[in-house]
């Protein structure tokens, strides 16, 4: 049975991804700051903050003991906080960078070690269309995801010799908690900038992730795929 690690599985896209890969017969290891919301024989939950190095290393060690290796990682956990730059507190800046950048990096580092033996690891990071669209009010969130994209491209090169691919997906807005605070007119204006003008759905994300995870995708790495026709 293949093992996939998914961060941020308590709700939203992360939970849907976990449900999907459990249904597909994967062993799923998930994490969130809180308790698990998934009850399945093949699901193992870790309560941790993705930016806590000790916690992430501990999770990796536990996975090595239980499953021996990890086949795929979906770095889904992320936070956003919409605010004008003139009003953005440094504490919020640090919190966003810590979760989105440090958290993504720590999981890449630790899980890539557990992918070495299979020589066919798959890492999928999560970015956002807020970066290419230069969305006002999302300066720090978009900047954190720009860092994730850079991380994706460089790790793709560093991990290529180990047979691990590293790619990213950039969803459009999807109806989850992450965008609940965004005013409707802002959301509509954003969707107008997409080639395909509709809200994203979780199955759009799953479809792209499935593509990256396929064994046949072993020649695809360092790529960022935006949904909705955003470029």
């Amino acid at each position: 049975m293949k093992t996939i690690v998914i961060t941020g599985t308590r709700k939203g896209i992360g939970k849907s991804l976990a449900d999907h890969y459990l249904a597909e017969g994967w062993q799923v290891a998930g994490c969130s700051r809180g308790e698990s919301s998934i009850n399945h024989a093949n699901y193992r939950h870790f309560s941790l903050d993705v930016s806590d190095e000790v916690g992430v290393v501990g999770m990796a060690r536990a996975l090595k003991g239980d499953f021996g290796r990890v086949d795929a990682l979906l770095n889904n956990a992320g936070i956003a906080s919409m605010n004008h730059a003139l009003l953005m507190p440094a504490e919020t800046v640090n919190r966003i960078l810590s979760t989105n950048v440090t958290g993504t990096f720590l999981f890449c580092r630790e899980m890539a070690k557990l992918m070495r033996s299979s020589k066919a690891g798959r890492i999928v990071n999560f970015t956002t269309v807020a970066h290419p669209l230069n969305l006002e009010g999302e300066a720090i969130y978009a900047a954190s995801k720009a860092a994730v994209e850079s991380l994706t491209r460089i790790l793709a090169r560093e991990l290529a010799d180990l047979g691990t691919t590293v790619n990213a997906i950039g969803p459009t807005p999807i109806d989850t908690d992450l965008i609940r605070g965004v005013p409707e007119e802002k959301m509509n204006a954003l969707i107008q900038r997409q080639a395909i003008q509709r809200m994203g759905e979780v199955h759009d994300v799953i479809n792209a992730v499935d593509f990256y995870l396929r064994p046949e995708s072993n020649f695809i790495t360092g790529q960022v795929l935006y949904l909705g026709g955003v470029t």
Binding site: V54, V57, R61, K64, K113, R116, D161
Partner: protein, 98 residues
């Protein structure tokens, strides 16, 4: 803290396993003098990265300590701790919690 010979034994075993994986003939029977990386050392940078990851993992499993070998001290050291088995073992000992 484990004694130096115990740490050296752990490093030697990690080097031996890596040499099998990476097919590095001269390191298939390593000892404390075996050169690893740098002038005269047989490992390339990717093999060294793998060795360090393996050794950190082995230290955690065997001694229950989480250490980082490629830290700023190692990067700025005049004599690289990754030069040979003995220097790598010393670097581990220096980073073990007391």
């Amino acid at each position: 803290m484990p004694a130096i010979p115990e740490i050296e034994a752990l490093v030697i075993e990690s080097v031996r396993m890596l040499a099998e994986d990476f097919e590095v003939e001269v390191l298939k029977k390593p000892n404390r003098e075996s050169l690893l990386y740098g002038e005269g050392g047989p490992l390339d940078s990717m093999a060294l990265v793998n060795l360090i990851a393996d050794v950190e993992e082995a230290v955690s499993e065997k001694f229950g300590a989480s250490i980082a070998l490629a830290d700023e001290r190692a990067m700025s050291a005049k004599k690289s701790p990754f030069r040979c088995v003995a220097s790598l073992s010393e670097a581990i000992a220096e980073r073990m919690p007391s």
